[in-house]
Point group: C2
């Protein structure tokens, strides 16, 4: 049985179940992930949409793994706006802090979100005597770095359709562990809007525009089919004319490469 089907079963058999933890533990153990060596230390907990997992300022005693569902790391601004600083999907780890407290709060956003909590100190002690485990921890931290930089790339785009298009491609990549042509969005338009730092109306309008331009098709409100991936990737404004590009300050640093390139430190 593939992990997706198992997760599916967990979904269908949701609701008050007596021995769910043992069942989730089985799911966790049957799916390969970097911290598998320490699964005997783990506490598995289901969360409902909107439920808080951990909050800013609390002791950062646990690292978390998303077994199923989705969550977000975020802050609420004084004006009531919520800002998302990490979108956690199935297979992601989170909860890493350099200090002793969580820097941000985390909430579940999908209906059936199951998280595995690894006690940080005990895992770190285990890593002290297991170099391979230590390398795995580094790896998942580096994965988190890449995830955040990808989000920065999306947020840095100019127009809203670009952001939404990039978001769809990112979801297709992350949810299927590789490029796929269709993807089931795990979150609402409002959640997408907060992730992209635009308004929910703009997300809706952008999706409509992408549909009309023939880049995507939708089945229902959550299922997205990617029709023209190239156009979606290069869904950017017109490349500037060569003459303009020459005068563009942005390229100058790169163009005038130093006469004597530095010795690449491939020592």
């Amino acid at each position: 049985m593939r992990p997706e089907e198992e997760a599916n079963m967990a979904t269908s058999s949701s609701s008050p179940q007596s021995n769910s933890t043992a069942y989730y533990r089985h799911i966790l153990s049957s799916r390969p992930h970097p911290l598998q060596k320490t699964d005997h230390l783990v506490v598995i907990t289901p969360f409902q949409r909107g439920q808080e997992v951990c909050s800013q300022g609390q002791p950062a005693d646990h690292w978390y793994f998303v077994v199923s569902g989705a969550a977000r790391q975020c802050v609420i601004r004084p004006d009531g706006r919520r800002q998302v600083v990490d979108l956690l999907l199935c297979g992601d780890f989170f909860g890493f802090t350099a200090g002793e407290e969580y820097d941000f709060s985390v909430e579940a956003i999908a209906k059936e979100t199951v998280l595995a909590a690894y006690p940080r100190r005990r895992v770190e002690m285990a890593a002290d005597s297991d170099p391979d485990l230590a390398r795995q921890i580094r790896r998942i931290a580096f994965d988190a770095i890449f995830r955040l930089q990808s989000q920065l790339l999306i947020l840095g785009r100019i127009t809203a359709p670009e952001k939404v298009g990039s978001f769809i491609l990112e979801m297709a990549m992350r949810l299927s562990r590789g490029p796929a042509d269709s993807v089931m969005l795990p979150i609402t338009r409002y959640d997408i809007a907060e992730y992209l730092a635009v308004s929910a109306e703009t997300v809706s309008r952008s999706l409509t525009e992408l549909k009309q331009r023939g880049l995507i098709k939708m089945s229902g409100t959550r299922m997205v089919n990617i029709i023209d991936r190239d156009a979606l990737e290069e869904c950017e404004r017109e490349p500037m004319s060569p003459s303009t590009a020459l005068n563009c300050r942005r390229d100058r640093d790169v163009l005038r490469a130093p006469a004597s390139p530095p010795a690449p430190p491939y020592g």
Copy 2:
């Protein structure tokens, strides 16, 4: 010839000092930082503004430490725009990837930028037999995560003056290792603009506005004095009225907390 000497030759060709590497090495050793144990493996190289440190797709053979100056991790879009996915200042580490190649390019942006390059494999081997070193590596990775999430918070703000205000506060924090009331911006307006994903003109206008509102003062174009830190922090739009806040969808999830709280995973 040892790598250090090679780097030294490259150094002397770009700047007219003969034994600069030994000097930079002295600086590095005299300043506490997490990877000090492996400083004997390091290659120190000075870079000029605009010089490329490493580029996307190259083998990720080194981790880097900013000894002095500043650098940026970025991509160039087809339209010529540059997007910054990490601003590296004095004391920051970078170059972490989960895969075997760099995900992004890095360029120096300050005049005198000196970087220390740690050979990844050798440091990782050292970490295999030194748990404390492994913990230090984790720590600097977690620092990078926090840095990126802070940048996401800034990019997610709405108006340009908010972004610029947050940027000034972040610089004051990072460059002085704690809150300070004045800060020397290490980069140009154009670089700030790319970091904040706004236009350079907007950065300039935002600074003018912050000056006129009495939140900051400037000496020359780089020196910023923070006059009203609180106003700068809360430089956001008006908090919504209580009635509006009640109807605001964004708060509902948090307000209607679940009847049965989850078992806190403090097992």
